[in-house]
Amino acid sequence: MIQALRISAIAIACLMFVAGLAASIWAIAGNPLPESLPQLLSENMSRSGVEHPVTAVLLNFRSYDTLLEIGVLVIAGIAGISMAKTTSLEDPELRTSDSLLYALQRWFVPLMLVLAGYLLWAGADRPGGAFQAGAVLAATGVLMRLGGIPMEFIRPGLLLRLGLALGFTVFLLVALASAIGGDAFLAYPPAMAKTLIVVIESVLTLSIAMVLLALFVSAPVNDAEDPEEGGSS
Amino acid sequence: MMAFESFLLLLAVCVPLLYPIMALAGGSDKVMRHALPLLPIPALIFVLVAQPGGQLELPWLLNGGLWGMDELRRLFLLLTAVLWTVAGVFAVGYLKVHHLRRFCVFWGLTLAGNLGLTVAVDIASFYSFFALMTFAGYGLVVHEGTEEANRAGRVYLAMAVVGEMAILAGLLLASAAADSQMLSDIPAAIAESPQRDLMIALLIVGFGVKAGLPLLHFWLPMAHPVAPTPASAVLSGAMIKAGLLGWLVTLPFGDISLPVWGTLMVVAGAVASLGAAALGVCQQRPKTVLAYSSISQMGLMVLMVGAALADPQRAPVLLPVIALYTLHHGLAKGSLFLSAGLLLPSARMHRALMWLLVALPGLSLAGLPFTSGALAKLAMKEALAEDKLEFALAGYLSPLMTAGAVATLLLVLRYLWTLTAKLETGRNPPMLLAGWLAASSMSLLAFWWMPWNVEGLVKAPVWLPALYQVWALIWPMLVAVGIAGLTVRVTRSVKQR
C-alpha cells in the first residue's frame, strides 16, 4: 500500500517534472537566440586544422573537455581494474563455448579492425573519430575474449596500464608542449594542428579501446578485500 | 602624640594581636601561660603615661586609621587594661593543660579587640576590633567544650552576628551621612540626618547585644557562666562595656533631644535592672547570678544613657558619670567573677578573710560607703537629679535607682549564698590567688584614685560623705538584707516542714 502510494507519488512528481521541462523547452524554443555560436565556429574553422566541425570542437576548440573526458574514461578503467583479480584470465566461466561465435570471430575480427581504422581516418572531415574507432576496437576485443582467445596484455600489469595511459599521456604531452612553446595550455601551433590532432586521435583510439576492454575483462572475482577501518572483522 | 606614646599605643594593640602567632610558631605551653598577664601591660603603661587628647594617624590602615585617647576612652582603657591584667594573672593559675594553647590564642585576640576598639577613633578600625573581640570571644565562651558551652556559644554567636550586622548597617548609614570615616563626626551627622531614627535604632540594637539590653541579653546569662572563670571576668567586666562605649561614641548626645529614644532606653534600663534581678535571684549557680547582676547593672547605665539621650543639656554631665560607673562596675564584677573560681582555704582565719574580700566588691556594687560603688551611685544620683533633668520620666529615675540598689544587693547576697554552697576546700594556686587578690584590691582601692570630682557632682571629700548621702546609700541595703533574711527564713521553714 505504502509502496504503491510512494510509486504513484513519484510518478506524479516525474510527470510534473516532464511537464515543467517541456514547458521550459517550449518557451525557450520560442525565444530568439542571442548568440550564434555556429557562425563563430565556421569563421574559425580554417585555423582549427581539421575540416569536420565536430572534430574541430572536440579536439581543438574545446580540447580541454576532451582531455578531461579521457581522464574520466581512464578513471573508470583504473577503478575497474583495481577490482580485477590478478591471476587467472582464462576463467572457464567467462568463456562461451558457442562454436558459431568461434567461427564468426575469424571473419569478424579483421573486418572490425579495418572498420576501426576507417572510422579514425574519416573523423577529420565527416562523422567518425577516435571514440567511434576505439569503441569498435574494443568490441573486437570483447568478441575475441568471449571466443576464448588469450589476451595476455589485458592482464592488469604494467603493459595494460601503459596502454590505458598511452592516449591520455600523448594528449597531455602535446598540451604541455604547446604551453612550453609559449602559448596557452593546449594551444596547438596552427601549422602543426592537423598532425597533432591525427596523432592524438590515433593514440586515443588505442587507449579508449583498451579502457573499454579492460572494464569488460576485469571480472571482480577478487576475494581479497580491505577491512573497514577499525571494523569488527 | 609623642613618638614614645605612639609607639606605646601601637604596642598596646599589637602585642596581644601578635601573641597568638607564638602559639602557631610553637611556643611552649609554659611560656604561653605566663605571658597572659603581660599582654595588657603596654596598654596599662600607656593609659598611665599618656595624656588624653593625643592621636595616632595610620593612613595605610583600612580606610585610613586614627587611634587616640580622650578622657572617656581613658577610663575605658584603664578598666580594660587593669581587668585583663588581673584576669590574666588569675588565668595563669587557673588554666588546665587541656586546649591551653587554643585558649591563649583567643585570649590574645579578644584582648586585642577589646583594647583596639577602645582606642580606635576611625570607624573601620573600631568596627574591626569590635568584631575581632566578638568573634574571638566565642572561643572563650565555648572553651570548655561541654554541651552547655556549645549551646551558649551558638546563642552568643548568633546574637553577636546579628548585632555586628546592625552595627555595620548603622555605621554605614552614619558614615555616609557624615561623609567621614571618623567616629567623632558621626553623632553630629546622625543628629541632622533624615534617617536619624533608623541609625539610632540600629546602633542601639547593635551595641545593645553586647551590653545586654533586655531582649538582646539572652546570650549573656548563658555565655558568661560557662566560660572559664577568668574569661567570664573579662566578659562581664570589660567586654560588656564595649557596647556601652559604642553607644557613647556614636549616639548623638548633647546635640539633639531624643525624648522617644530616651524614654525607650530608660524603660529598657529599668526593665533590665529590675527584671534581671528578679530572674537572677532564682538562679542556682553563682556565675549565672553574677551574669544577671551584670545585666542589671548595665540596666542602670542604660538608664543614664537614656537620660542623656533625652536631655542634651545634661548629657555632658552624664557621660563622665557613666564612664565612672563603668569603671567601678567593671572592676567589682571582675573581682566577683574571679572569686567564683576560688577554693576555700581550710584555715578559719583565712577563710573569713577570704569571705570578706569576696563580699566587699559585691557590697561595693551595692553602694557601700567608702567604696567606689558609693561614689558611683552618688554621682549617678546627682546626675539624674530630677530638678536638673528636662525629661518626662525624670521623676521616676530616683526611685528606680533606689530599687536598683536593692536589687543589686539582693543579687550579691544571692551570689554569696550560692557560692557558699559551691565552693570547695582546697589550696589555691598562688597565681590564681594573686589574680583574685589583685582584682579585689583594685576594685576596692580604685575608690581612692577615681576621678571623683566629676563635674562637681560629688561633694568633696568623698571619704567623708554627708550623712544624708550615707543614709541614701545604706537604707536600700538594709531593705535588701531584710528581704534576704526573710527569704532565708521562709525557705528554711518551708524546708523544715
Binding site: L21, A23, S24, I25, W26, A27, I28, A29, N31, L33, P34, E35, S36, L37, L40, L41, N44, N60, F61, R62, S63, Y64, D65, L67, L68, E69, G71, V72, V74, I75, A76, I78, A79, I81, S82, M83, L158, R161, L164, A165, F168, T169, L172, A175, L176, S178, A179, A184, F185, L186, A187, Y188, A224, E225, D226, P227, E228, E229, G230, G231 | -
Partner: protein
C-alpha cells in the same frame, strides 16, 4: 609567468596521475610527494601572482569564450586552488603513511587521487558550464573509485549509492546546461551574465537554473538529498574521507554558488532563495542531530559534514535582493566557511583515522580513556572541533560572524537562530567525543601510537583552521581582488 603557472597547475595533477599509474604504491608515494610539492608551489605562486596583479581570464587552447573554454582565474578561485593544494597535499602525505602499501590494489590510489585533484582545479577555475560538468564527473568518478578501492560489500554499497546520486546530480545539471545553451547559445557563465545584465530575463531560464542548482545540491548533499553522503564518507579510508568531505562536496557547491551569484539575481526568486536557505537550515539541525546519535566515530564526522554544508546554503537567501554590503558579507562568510570547514574537516577525518588506528575500533565508546595516552590526534580532533563549533578564534567563527552580520543586516533574523543553534548542536556532538575520551575506564590498556608524521598532519590542518580566524581579513582581501580586465568575455 602566470601562463607557466597555469600550465603547471593544470598539467601536474594529470601528469602525476599517469606517472603514478605506472608505479606501485610505494614508489607512487615518492613520486606523489614530489608532485604535491610542485603543486603546492605552483598554487602558491599563482595565488601570489593574483594577489599582486589581480585576476584574469585564461583561454585554453588559445580560444576565448564562447568558442573555446575560458578559465576564470580570480581571487576566489586561486584561494580555493591553494586550499585544495594544502588540504589535498596533506591528505596525500597522510595517505602515503596511512595506507598499507602491500595490498596490490592500493597502487591505484595515487592515480585516482591525482585525477581527483585535477578535477578540483578544473572546477575552481572553470568558467564554462559544460567544462564544469566534465570536471564534476572527473571528481565524482575518481571519488567513487577511491571509496570503493578494495572495499568490502559495505564500501561498495556506499560507493554505488554515491555513484548513482552523483550521476543523477550530474544529469540534472547537464539538463540545465542544455537549456541554458538552447536559450543563450553560449556556455560561458560570464557570457550569460553579461547578456542578462542588459536584457530582460527570457522565460524558461528559471527551470534551467533550478535544474542546475538542484543537481548540484544533490551532489553537495543538501538536506533532504544528503542520504548518500554519510555512508560514503564514513566508510572510505580516512584520507579519502577527508578529501571527500573537505573538497569534493565543496566543488559542486562552488559551482552552485557561482551560478547563483552570477545569475541568481536576474533569474532566481525570493521564494527559491528562502527555500534553499530553509533546506540549509534543516540540514544544519538534522545533520547535527543525527551526528549526535551515531555510534561510530567517522559517521559522526560524516554527519557533521551534512550539517556544516547546510551553513553554506545560507548564502542563497543572504545574497538575494539585499544591499551590496550584506551580499559581500554573506559571500565572505561563505568563503571562510568553505575554507575553514575544509581544513577542519580534513583534520578531523585524518585525526579520526589515527584514533581508530590507535584504539583498534571505530566506535565512539572505544575512545574511553584515550586522552590518558595524550594522543596528538585527539588534540587535533579537538582543535578541528573548535572550528566546527564555530568558536573563536577559528575560521568557522569568522564565517559565522560574517553570516550573522549579513543576516542581521538584511533583516532576515531567522537565520541568526539557525546559526546559533547550529553552533550549539555541533558542540553537542563534538563534546560527546571529548566526553568519551575523558571517561576513565579500566579497560583501555592497549594503545597504539601512530607515527609522528601521521599525527602531525591533522594537527597542522587543525591549526590552520583555527588560525584562519585571525587572518581572515588578509584572506578575504585576496578574494575581493578586482579583475584585470573587468568583464573580459
Amino acid at each position: 609567468m602566470t601562463l607557466w603557472l597555469m600550465a603547471g597547475l593544470l598539467f601536474t595533477p594529470l601528469a602525476w596521475a599517469v606517472l603514478t599509474l605506472l608505479t606501485d604504491f610505494s614508489r607512487g608515494r615518492l613520486v606523489s610527494w614530489a608532485g604535491i610539492l610542485v603543486q603546492v608551489l605552483v598554487s602558491l605562486g599563482l595565488w601570489l601572482a593574483v594577489a599582486r596583479d589581480g585576476g584574469f581570464y585564461y583561454g585554453l587552447g588559445g580560444w576565448d569564450a564562447p568558442l573555446g573554454i575560458e578559465l576564470r582565474v580570480d581571487g576566489l578561485a586561486v584561494t580555493f586552488v591553494l586550499l585544495t593544494a594544502v588540504v589535498a597535499g596533506a591528505c596525500g602525505l597522510h595517505a602515503g603513511a596511512y595506507i598499507d602499501p602491500d595490498k596490490p590494489w592500493h597502487r591505484y590510489f595515487w592515480p585516482l587521487f591525482w585525477f581527483l585533484w585535477s578535477g578540483l582545479n578544473a572546477v575552481w577555475l572553470g568558467g564554462d558550464l559544460f567544462n564544469l560538468y566534465v570536471g564534476l564527473e572527473l571528481i565524482s568518478l575518481s571519488a567513487v573509485g577511491l571509496v570503493a578501492l578494495g572495499g568490502q560489500a559495505g564500501a561498495l554499497r556506499a560507493s554505488l549509492r554515491y555513484l548513482l546520486a552523483a550521476l543523477l546530480g550530474s544529469l540534472a545539471y547537464l539538463l540545465g546546461v542544455a537549456l541554458i545553451y538552447g536559450q543563450f547559445g553560449t556556455l560561458s557563465i560570464a557570457g550569460v551574465a553579461t547578456w542578462l545584465s542588459d536584457h530582460p530575463v527570457p522565460s524558461g531560464s528559471g527551470m534551467a537554473l533550478a535544474l542546475m542548482i538542484a543537481g548540484l545540491a544533490l551532489k553537495t548533499a543538501l538536506f533532504p538529498l544528503h542520504r548518500w553522503l554519510p555512508p560514503a564518507h564514513g566508510i572510505a579510508k580516512s584520507p579519502v574521507s577527508a578529501l571527500l568531505s573537505a573538497l569534493v562536496v565543496k566543488a559542486s557547491f562552488y559551482i552552485a554558488a557561482r551560478l547563483w551569484l552570477e545569475l541568481g539575481q536576474p533569474i532566481g526568486s525570493l521564494a527559491a532563495a528562502q527555500l534553499i536557505g530553509l533546506l540549509g537550515s534543516a540540514a544544519v539541525v538534522w545533520g547535527s542531530w543525527l551526528a549526535c546519535r551515531q555510534q561510530r566515530l567517522k559517521q559522526v564526522v560524516a554527519y557533521s559534514s551534512v550539517a556544516q554544508i547546510g551553513y553554506l546554503f545560507l548564502l542563497f537567501p543572504l545574497t538575494f535582493s539585499v544591499s551590496e554590503t550584506v551580499s559581500l558579507q554573506a559571500q565572505q562568510g561563505m568563503t571562510l566557511q568553505v575554507i575553514s570547514h575544509a581544513l577542519a574537516k580534513a583534520a578531523m577525518f585524518l585525526a579520526a583515522g589515527n584514533l581508530i588506528l590507535s584504539v583498534g575500533s571505530n566506535r565512539v565508546d572505544a575512545l574511553a580513556g584515550v586522552s590518558r595516552f595524550l594522543p596528538f590526534s585527539l588534540f587535533s580532533f579537538g582543535l578541528a572541533g573548535v572550528s566546527l563549533m564555530s568558536l573563536p578564534p577559528s575560521g568557522g567563527f569568522a564565517a559565522k560572524w560574517l553570516l550573522l552580520q549579513a543576516s542581521l543586516g538584511s533583516g532576515q533574523w531567522w537565520w541568526v537562530l539557525v546559526l546559533l543553534a547550529g553552533g550549539l548542536l555541533s558542540a553537542a556532538y563534538i563534546f560527546r567525543i571529548y566526553r568519551a575520551s575523558f571517561l576513565e575506564s579500566s579497560g583501555t590498556d592497549q594503545f597504539f601510537h601512530p607515527s609522528r608524521s601521521l599525527e602531525v598532519i591533522p594537527l597542522i590542518l587543525a591549526m590552520l583552521a583555527l588560525g584562519l580566524g585571525l587572518a581572515s581579513d588578509q584572506v578575504l582581501t585576496v578574494m575581493a581582488l578586482p579583475f584585470e580586465g573587468e568583464g573580459a568575455p
